[in-house]
Symmetry: C2
């Protein structure tokens, strides 16, 4: 990214990208909770943080990799704007989503002397958002939080909706809080440094989001992002690669559309008591694949397989048939291979997914693209048949 | 306590206490938040927990001392009523209010396989209530919480209002959450095993509570509880001692009156943005005394001195004069001696109490008994004069 961007701090196109400034103007998606907040999607938003965060003392929480790319510069600009900045960095990766790291973060906030009027800025992917979000939810019983997602996955999913958490040795996301941010500032310029594999994680959740609330988004994500996300040769990979250059305005559009779906679902069900379950489309099998493979399969790849699996379950029930369509898309995205597991190895993990009722499992399926439905009576026989279908399609 | 109490589980007088069953009927104090909940004050309430907690899977969190006295029996009765019970005990004392113990508690909830429909029962004093409350607030992003306070301090103050927290090495109560209980079940029968020193801690907060919202409660607390709380000789000390026997019905009355004041304040200001500051009457000096003495002085004793100090500040300003009245009461309660500290040693801790504004300190003072007021312009000269007055009165 160029440092010769306009000094007005406005929404300018990233240098070298063929797009008009207008196309990259920030888009606002309102999350109509009480109090409401905005998901702001734009390019170069990280240059506008000082004017969008009124608090005069802030902590920037990030991982070391994101810090080097974007954190240092952000902290400098915040200081230039007269703010007091406490810097908190953690090691990159899911391993930092634990109680020990959480303790280090809240101690850093205390050692920095931050008071109740301070704000925590979570700069990074889903791990940083969940970890810093939980710290913000609990430090002094709650301080202002701003989510500054730097991955596609975090922009379309994790940063919106107020779910924060860390893992325990007993399982993922077992402690946390619902703590809504004051704003989500999604700067799509950060996506240009995202490795293809990470981009693919976000494409998976974007596709899922489209399927539950905006079918056209699936086509758009496929058209724009597949090449960049396939990781085929380093030259052609990534959003800025010569083979896959995507203008920021298009990214703003995709992220804002996904954010709009997520915002709608979260607004209807802030504490995950009802329709928020729809966000779990594809996730029952995905969680089982992750767990049964010892987390060797990434979450995004597992979700891709889970979406095809849910489609196969639905088709067998006479619901809409999107199996071939999704299988084609998943093939194009080149996820890590479907783990070679017997169906029996997956059942206990699916059953543990807290959706069991009298021996039958709850699944989110599609009545039609954009029309999810929760079914509570899926039998083991149906599940086995769908697994065979998935294996045939994906092997 | 007798085990030959009526089998109906109702509010019966503790054996050996000269009171009618009617006098010990549970009293309900409504905390009118959304959703509302009740503070139930009675004798033998720990025998009614199973019928007042609808959840079929519960964790009883307690410290080892309280567990031996009341936890084991409670767990047995809950199991007899068909509930699944996970037992979690921690070491007694403020040292357990740390992140390591918090981690152990939430891991125990996870290892016990408790789901979102489970309830956490916090059985103990303020430490257990704060710790188990924070665990309930965050386990699976929040499960039902019941406060079962077993100390006077917890019954009149800590268990009501939803403040939960643990300490960090950097300071007390630095991480936590506002998490309202589904109910507070205060069984005054547990107070009969409370050591005089612990009882005194509760008398201090009861007096404070009376001063801010129910002046008659100060007289009642003095009349009923001073003898039991002075610790003069083990024979005469404690609520059941021959020199200080207090009937449960009278305890129910005192606790319910204090709970009513606390409930009113909390309802007006659930997240401590305004009038909840009134609960800090006496606490600015108290926190400074605790900190400057290296926590050698207990919180309750520090509050007693803090109340006299606030009274002295107010008298010097021409507000109501309750200095002599409170000084007499504090003398009768025989707190640990006022630490021999120069005024200069206290100033930084009072200033750190987050109530500084342009070199002047905020204090809660009394316009009249029952009518607290926040003043924001107390000068260092006034503070020094009041400290000298306190030293003269208390040395």
């Amino acid at each position: 990214m160029s440092e010769r961007a306009p000094a007005d701090g406005g929404a300018a196109a990233t240098a070298g990208q063929a797009t008009s400034a207008a196309a990259a103007d920030p888009r606002l998606v309102r999350v109509a909770l009480s109090p409401p907040y905005d998901v702001v999607v734009g390019a170069r938003l990280l240059h506008e943080v000082a004017s969008r965060v009124p608090q005069s003392a802030v902590a920037v929480v990030s991982d070391e990799a994101v810090w080097a790319l974007y954190g240092r510069g952000l902290a400098e600009r915040l200081r230039t704007a007269g703010k007091r900045v406490v810097e908190v960095t953690v090691a990159p990766g899911e391993g930092s989503k634990d109680l020990a790291t959480y303790g280090a973060v809240v101690r850093a906030l205390a050692a920095g002397g931050l008071g109740r009027d301070a704000a925590v800025l979570a700069l990074g992917g889903g791990v940083v958002g969940d970890l810093a979000g939980f710290a913000a939810a609990t430090y002094l019983r709650g301080v202002a939080l701003y989510q500054l997602p730097t991955t596609l996955l975090a922009m379309v999913d994790a940063a919106i909706g107020g779910k924060t958490a860390v893992d325990l040795p007993e399982g993922k996301n077992l402690v946390g809080a619902f703590w809504q941010p004051r704003a989500v500032l999604a700067d799509v310029a950060t996506l240009y440094t995202l490795p293809p594999r990470e981009l693919r994680q976000g494409v998976a959740e974007t596709v899922k989001t489209g399927l539950i609330g905006d079918p056209g988004l699936v086509d758009e994500a496929e058209r724009l992002l597949v090449t960049a996300a396939t990781g085929e040769g380093s030259e052609a990979a990534g959003l800025g690669g010569p083979g896959g250059a995507v203008p920021p305005g298009a990214l703003v559009d995709v992220v804002a559309r996904a954010a709009a779906v997520k915002a709608r679902v979260v607004t209807e069900d802030p504490h995950e008591a009802g329709v928020r379950a729809h966000l779990n489309l594809g996730h029952t099998l995905a969680h089982a694949l992750e767990a049964a493979s010892g987390l060797a399969l990434s979450h995004g790849d597992a979700v891709l397989y889970g979406l095809v699996y849910a489609a196969a379950l639905g088709r067998a029930r006479g619901l809409v048939d999107v199996v071939e369509r999704l299988a084609r898309l998943v093939h194009r995205l080149r996820p890590d291979p479907l783990p070679d597991l017997p169906f029996e190895a997956l059942v206990p993990y699916m059953a543990r997914d807290k959706k069991v009722l009298a021996g039958r499992l709850r699944f989110v399926l599609l009545e039609a693209p954009g029309r999810p439905v929760v079914v509570a009576d899926v039998t083991e026989a149906e599940m086995r048949t769908a697994w065979r279908a998935l294996e045939e399609l994906m092997r």
